[in-house]
Symmetry: C2
Subunit: 337 residues, 2 copies
């Protein structure tokens, strides 16, 4: 049996009930690989910032299996993201969860796959499977990043800690699809200009902070490195001034996320510097992109979904200008590794 995002409240209630007499839920492990790990990043920051009592950690699947936290077991929830359900390291992590008596929640896009037999709850997320993810006709509030956040929000809300901004959070979730669709239209022209300007470059940096750093990480490793074979790194805007900023010059391009919410000041500071010393800067500003209608108490956690769904507009244009289609691979799914 499989579930979707609207079932997560009930799933968490069931898990809490089942573990009530065994000491309760004491830890939440967020586990995946690459883009799937990146998509869990907002849930990681949510737990770090909002929860005092439930231990959480955000760990690559292979590292999790080889270097498993000692307390991982029947008082744990392991939340795994696995797009097609066939990533070997993530399947191993799910198996380990089952062996140790943890509650295993798997976020996936495919109802039938190798991993599902090891999950207690298979949550199917919405995903824009059109070429280059351009259709934009999905319910973005059902995507994996938000599903992971619902797990964290419900876990907090349904335990003694509580979550004061619960209603505001779901109010934000109901707004995100419209915000994203408008934002994608908004950047259409500048994405073309970006692609023309960047088509001969060999390196590009992404930048971000807070709960949306995960989107900068995903764009860097899954698009620029994996799908365009460009040198890249995702620089945290708070870390930028403590090393990375020394590479700034008039040639190197930067794609910077300006978040709405608590870490906006970090991003703005980096942008002021970039405007002074760099020339090739592409700015994704959540305020300009319409995110500010979401309540300030919860807005931090929606930046990632916005940026992550605006990037495809840029990616499509860049791939076209570079004549390097996004599905091109030299190793992934082609050679042994």
């Amino acid at each position: 049996m499989s579930y979707n995002s609207s079932d997560i409240k009930r799933i968490i209630a069931e898990i809490i009930e089942a573990k009530k007499d065994k000491g309760g839920v004491r830890s939440l492990y967020l586990v995946g690989c690459g883009g799937s790990l990146g998509a869990l990043y907002p849930a990681k920051t949510f737990m770090e910032k909002e929860s005092a009592k439930i231990k959480s950690a955000w760990i690559n699947s292979s590292e999790f299996v080889h270097s498993t936290p000692k307390d991982f077991g029947e008082n744990s929830i392991i939340l795994l993201a696995c797009h097609k359900g066939n990533t070997p390291e993530t399947i191993q992590a799910a198996k380990l969860g089952r062996d140790r008596g943890a509650a295993v929640i798997i976020l996936t896009w495919l109802e039938e796959s190798e991993i599902v037999e090891f999950g207690d709850y298979i949550v199917l997320y919405s995903f824009d499977a059109s070429p280059d993810h351009l259709a934009g006709n999905i319910d973005y509030s059902g995507e994996k990043t938000l599903c992971a956040l619902y797990v964290a929000v419900e876990l907090l809300a349904q335990t003694e800690e509580g979550y004061a901004n619960y209603d505001k959070f779901y109010e934000g979730a109901r707004m995100i699809t419209t915000i994203i669709r408008n934002a994608r239209n908004h950047v259409a022209d500048r994405a073309k200009e970006f692609a023309m300007a960047r088509k001969n470059d060999s390196v590009i940096y992404t930048m971000g902070s807070g709960a949306s750093y995960g989107a900068a990480y995903m764009e860097s490793i899954c698009i620029f490195m994996e799908m365009q074979w460009l040198d890249s790194s995702s620089i945290h805007t708070g870390e930028y001034f403590h090393g990375p900023f020394e590479i700034t010059d008039s040639n190197r391009p930067f794609m910077i996320q300006i978040s709405e919410g608590s870490t906006r000041e970090l991003d703005e500071r980096a942008l002021v510097f970039l405007k002074k010393y760099a020339k090739n800067i592409e700015i994704l500003d959540a305020k300009e992109l319409g995110l500010s209608v979401i309540d300030g108490s919860v807005i931090d956690y929606f930046n990632h979904s916005l940026f992550n769904n605006v990037y495809p507009i840029y990616n499509h244009e860049l791939a076209a200008e570079r004549q390097h289609p996004l599905p091109t691979r030299r190793y992934m799914w082609k050679v042994e590794y």
Copy 2:
């Protein structure tokens, strides 16, 4: 009054005693910027893997100040690393700790600095201040990375959780100086060859996993980006196969850490792939470098110190070959930011 690494056991005892009637120590926040944040990474992985009850998080100082965890307060320890005691963001974080009633431990190299007035405990760490850190005449067990680990180890050992490998850990700490000195001699010739081979490159990647990923991060942002103005990123060896490996070719250089301990298999898998598809690979293998004399139950946590102190031998040679001295900066401490 200031302390050194040998006082940390007593410092933690004092903090635990002082907070006993206020609910005890419930969280440990590891906070810093750039290389100082990187140095706290092994303590982060230690807490994630070994502790079930004490919440911990590893956060850039500026992000911590702007997006402070809600539970940060009198039941918290904040452990800050600040090399010269003058990093504004880290000073702000220390102030916030004082205001909120947290126990503030500051790891620093300078006894007198701006930050010290905001710390309850100023711990002076050992540091090789010779040009390019080549002297090698210090007690490496007193360095900041190990001081941070002592805080985590003592916190676990002195609370009800306990730490079963306590004696083995300190046994390892007593061995690390000799191991590092031998390893630095061991790589002297190959570091020269590396520097000659890499002198005309414009990009270089570092790779690592587990508790030593922090060393790969530091080498990438503080040396290659900051001090050599090279494009760079630190790739987690478990994440490599989920995006970044698509940039691998016969030209791009990789500097890969092969850890001893639980995540060695991740590093070895990445190395097998690199050997097949890349040509410019520099291998830092903790086993070859003599780390294996440390007990297997604690060896994970010593890889970082080893790699981080072997890198300077390479860095010195690379800077010389590139005629780009390590202290060269264009922005840091020179312009407003």
